[in-house]
Every structure is written in C-alpha cells, then in structure tokens.
C-alpha cells in the first residue's frame, strides 16, 4: 500500500448497470472456470469417458479369440462404447455438488448473495452454465467413444454396429443427455444439503445404494418399484433394447427429468428461505 495520502479517493464508476440474468450467467461462468480443481476435474472426466471404452475395446479385441460363445454373446458394442458413462456420471455428479457446496464451505456464498440478493438467478445460472458445459464436453466424448471403439473392433463382425441403425444415435447422444441430467440433479442436491460430504453421500445413496437395496424386497415389488428410481429411469435414455420391468427411453427420460425438476424446486424454495 504505497499511497498513504490524507484522504483515499475511490475512482468513480461512470457506468452503472443493474443485475440481469445474462450478467449472472457470465459471473457464474467466471466462477466455474476460475477454480483450478473444477477445470481439471472436467478435463479428467472428459478423458476418462473416452479412455474406458478404448481400453475395454482393446481388451475385448485381444481376448476375442479365446472367449467362450456365452462370453461373446454377453458383449454388446454399445455397452463397450458407453462404458465411460459410469465414470462420467460420478465425476459430473461430484462436481455438480461441489459447485454449490464449496460456496458454503468457503463462505463465498455470502459474497454471491450480496451481489445477487434475490438469490434465485444464481441457482438458474449455475444450472444452465453447468448443463451447457457438461453437454458440450459429453457429446464429443461419447461420439469419440463410439467411433473409437468401433474402429478398434473393426475386425470383429459381431461387434460392429452402425450409428444410423435405429436407436443407436439416440442411445449415444442420450447417454450424454443422461450425464447432463445427473449433473443438474447433483447440483440441486448440493444446494439442498449445502455441504460437500453430505451432498455426495446423498447422491451416492440415491444412485448406488438404493438400487441394490431394492433386491431385498419381494420380486414383484422390486419389479414394480425399481424402474421408477432416478438411476434406473434415467439409464433407459441410453438403453438400446427395452428389457422387462424397465421404462421406455422416453418415459424413463421423462421420469428422470421429473426427479430433476423436483430437486430443483426444493433447492429453489430452500435457497430463498434459509439464512446464509
């Protein structure tokens, strides 16, 4: 602080703007890109989404000759191509929770809400920014996964599948949409729970603990209920074949969207009501 003058003069601001949604969107984008760990997590998630199917394809190709007919029948080209989606959904979910929970743990949420005291535009902007970023990363990632795995498996006739075959393009792009929705769902959970560990635990409970827990129920109950769980409904977006006791891709997708909307609504109500 070199200038020790009798009075400190603050340079005046000649332009005075007001809060507008597009401005909050830009501000949230600045926040998203300016934390190093966030940036690198996204890059890592992107690369892993492609790396898994590539490795899976190489392993399958090298072992194909020694695989039993039943093992061969168990391999489906689309499963191989979208093997990275599981990793991607975890990475996107954790980051989704962090995008808001880290604001609470560091206290920066106070700065955020002083700048935008109506609060809700912040939630909309975070959701929209994150949805766009994850979509822009995931679509190329799953397309690259699909074509890379197909190229690696080119000499195995049974594992060749055309992008233009019915349902294939929908499943590939759908897997990216699914991951984007997972991110939205996780971000909303982060806003509800306001705590990183709690948010991730809640997400894991809903996506990874609840589904196997359903097998403790009588089969008829499990069959009736499981298909409506967020993870099971959501996965139908990128399922190629319609299995028994699952929803259609469209219905499943809509059910998952409904879960996301519900989570967003709860997050929004609490965001406005609670003290920070």
């Amino acid at each position: 602080m070199s200038a020790v003058t009798p009075t400190v003069r603050i340079p005046r601001l000649d332009v005075t703007g007001r809060i507008a949604f597009h401005r909050v969107l830009v501000s949230e984008w600045t926040k998203l890109r300016s934390v190093r760990s966030t940036k690198w997590s996204l890059v890592a998630g992107f690369l892993l989404t492609i790396a898994f199917p590539v490795i899976f394809s190489f392993v399958t190709r090298s072992h194909w000759g020694s695989m039993s007919p039943s093992d061969r029948a168990g391999r489906h080209p689309l499963d191989i191509a979208l093997a990275g989606v599981n990793v991607a959904q975890l990475a996107v979910a954790v980051l989704g929770v962090l995008l808001i929970s880290a604001e609470y743990s560091t206290g920066s949420i106070r700065s955020t809400f002083i700048a935008v005291p109506k609060r809700l535009p912040v939630l909309w902007a975070k959701l929209l920014d994150y949805a766009v970023v994850s979509f822009v990363l995931m679509v190329p990632a799953v397309l690259a996964s699909f074509f890379a795995s197909q190229a690696i498996l080119h000499n195995i006739q049974r594992l060749q599948i055309s992008f233009t075959q019915p349902g294939v393009a929908r499943a590939v792009i759908g897997s990216a949409v699914y991951v984007v929705l997972v991110g939205i769902f996780a971000l909303s959970i982060g806003a509800i729970v306001r705590n990183t560990a709690g948010g991730i635990a809640t997400f894991a409970a809903i996506f990874f603990v609840l589904p196997p827990l359903m097998f403790t129920l009588p089969t008829s109950w499990n069959n009736a209920i499981s298909q409506y769980l967020p993870s099971e409904a959501g996965r139908q977006i990128f399922a190629l074949h319609h299995a028994a006791h699952t929803l259609t891709p469209l219905t499943g997708g809509l059910v998952f969207v409904a879960y996301c909307v519900a989570a967003i609504v709860i997050a929004a109500v609490l965001l406005v009501r609670r003290d920070v």
Binding site: T7, S34, S108
Partner: protein, 306 residues
C-alpha cells in the same frame, strides 16, 4: 442511509439482535460498537438480507436491500466472516462480483491497485494473509462505487500502515457524502474515525449519539483536587451523593460534584486549592462502563452468532 426498526433476530432460543432501532446518516462515519458477540455481525447480515429478521425491518437507501435493482451500487459490504472461495484468485473473485452488474474489468484492476494487491491478484486467495484478505474484502465492498459502505471490523489483521489507510478511506468516503457504517469492538479505533456511535450490547441498543456526547454521558463526574488542607476540604464537600477516593501524589478524587461546586465550597470555607481538574473518561473507559454488564455474556453469544 440505513434505517432499522425494531430489528430482532433469534437463532433457536437465543436472541442475537433484540429490538434494534437506529438510523445511519450519510456524510459521516458511524461507528457500530459492541463487545464481541453483541450482535453487530448479525445486524449487518440482516441489513444485507443474508439473514431474515424474526421481527422488525431494515432498509437501505429507502428499500429492502434485496429489492434494489443494482444492490452493489447501493451498498458495499465487508463481512467479518470469510466470504471468498479459497481456490479462486482475487482478480477472478472481484470479476465475478462485478460481472453480475455489468461493471467493466477495468474497475476490478483499478480496485486491486487501490488496495495494493496488484502483485498477488492472480494468486489463489487461500494463500492470503489475514491482512491481504481484508484488503480484498474492502476492494469487493467498493466494486460498485456504493452510496453506502458497511464494513465489519475492517482493520482486523491490518498492519499499522493499513489501519491508517482504512481510516483515511472511511473519512474520504464520508466526505464524499456516502453513508459509512463501520463496526468494531475496539473503542480506540472508533475514537479516531467515527463521528457518530451506535453502541449495542446483548443485541440491544445502548447508545446512539455523537462521539462527544457519548463520552460526556458515559463518564462519571470526577474531579481531581489538591489542597494543603485536604482534610478540611473533604469535610466541607461531604454530602449526599458525594464520595471520595485517594488520588496519586496526595490528591483526592471527588465523585458526584462539578468543578464549580467544589470551587465555590472551597472559597466559602476559605480553603486554598492547588489543583482542580475535571477528569474526562476516555472513550475506552466510557465504552467499558456502558458495556460492563454485557461482556460476561459475550462468550456465550459468540457461539450463536458465529
């Protein structure tokens, strides 16, 4: 201008702010004083709409803070609690704030220079010292060139040069006609900067007056006297409501009488006076006197407010 009416905030069964009514005027520095845990930070959060009052109301420049279309141009605030993401640089923190109002990047650079953070602007704030964090917080408060500036314990962690700088900043802001509202638990700091004081203890208003009035009201009537006939003088002055304490170097402290009354009594009894000095309590003493009861309560409250 900040106007609070019957402002009250409960956290569970604890009442952190209790029926506060006050007005903070533009053009002067208003000190917001109270022991730690007396409800200063809570009051500031209520002003900013971060917390909702249990009862009562507070407006800034005529409206609830959240109803302003451009809140950063109305109020610039530095909170005592950490309000910065540790993984983000100072520059990006300020930029993200500025962008919500369409404030240009140039403003961010100007303020970084102003508060002397130029060299560390691109470093993550997690590596900042307390003083650097305070400077960043002050820069954040000034981003919107606000009409009202509200700072919670701004000199915390600053070096003497920084403290001096903040004092000048506050005076400069007030001289420009802005409303300046600064909290502190240090009376001595307020004595150097504030024109007006709002004092609270246990969330309640204790005093709302000019610094001069505050000292006059809070200091007891104490006069130091010296005389070769101290014993006789003592007898002449004694009466209801008057008490004595031995002072240094054979002087006597008289409580409960004005210098005029003592002089007249001495003259009436024909006693020579060698000294007659009204003792003015320092701002620090005045503050201690007013808030003595509240301090025992402070530790308990801090847990609630934190």
């Amino acid at each position: 201008m900040i106007e609070a009416r019957d402002l009250t905030k409960d956290y569970g069964s604890k009442r952190a702010v209790d029926g506060l009514s006050f007005t903070v005027q533009p053009g002067i520095v208003t000190g917001f004083l109270g022991p730690n845990g007396s409800g200063k930070s809570t009051t500031m959060r209520l002003i900013l709409g971060l917390d909702r009052p249990t009862r009562g109301d507070v407006t800034v420049n005529g409206r609830h803070y959240r109803d302003h279309p451009a809140p950063l141009h109305e109020v610039g605030a530095l909170l005592e609690a950490r309000s910065v993401h540790t993984g983000r640089s100072a520059y990006n923190h300020l930029l993200a704030l500025a962008q919500t109002h369409g404030i240009p990047k140039r403003r961010v650079s100007d303020l970084i220079d102003l508060v002397g953070l130029h060299e560390v602007a691109r470093k993550r704030t997690g590596q900042f010292s307390l003083g650097m964090g305070q400077r960043l917080g002050i820069a954040a408060a000034l981003v919107g060139d606000p009409k009202t500036v509200m700072l919670d314990e701004p000199v915390n962690g600053l070096d003497p040069e920084g403290i001096h700088w903040v004092r000048n900043l506050l005076k400069g802001l007030a001289a420009e006609g802005r409303t300046v509202f600064v909290s502190s638990h240090l009376m001595s700091e307020m004595a150097l900067t504030a024109d007006h004081l709002i004092v609270i203890g246990r969330g309640k208003l204790i005093a709302d007056m000019s610094v001069d009035d505050f000292v006059a009201r809070a200091s007891q009537k104490v006069v130091l006297i010296r005389s070769p006939e101290l014993e006789r003088l003592r007898d002449a002055l004694d009466g209801p409501g008057v008490s004595f304490e031995p002072g240094e170097r054979r002087a006597l402290e008289v409580h409960g009488l004005t210098p005029e009354q003592i002089g007249d009594a001495a003259a009436g009894a024909g006693i020579v006076l060698h000294e007659l000095t009204p003792q003015q309590a320092s701002l620090e003493e005045a503050f201690m006197n007013l808030t003595r009861d509240e301090i025992e309560f402070a530790t308990e409250m801090e847990e609630v407010v934190a």
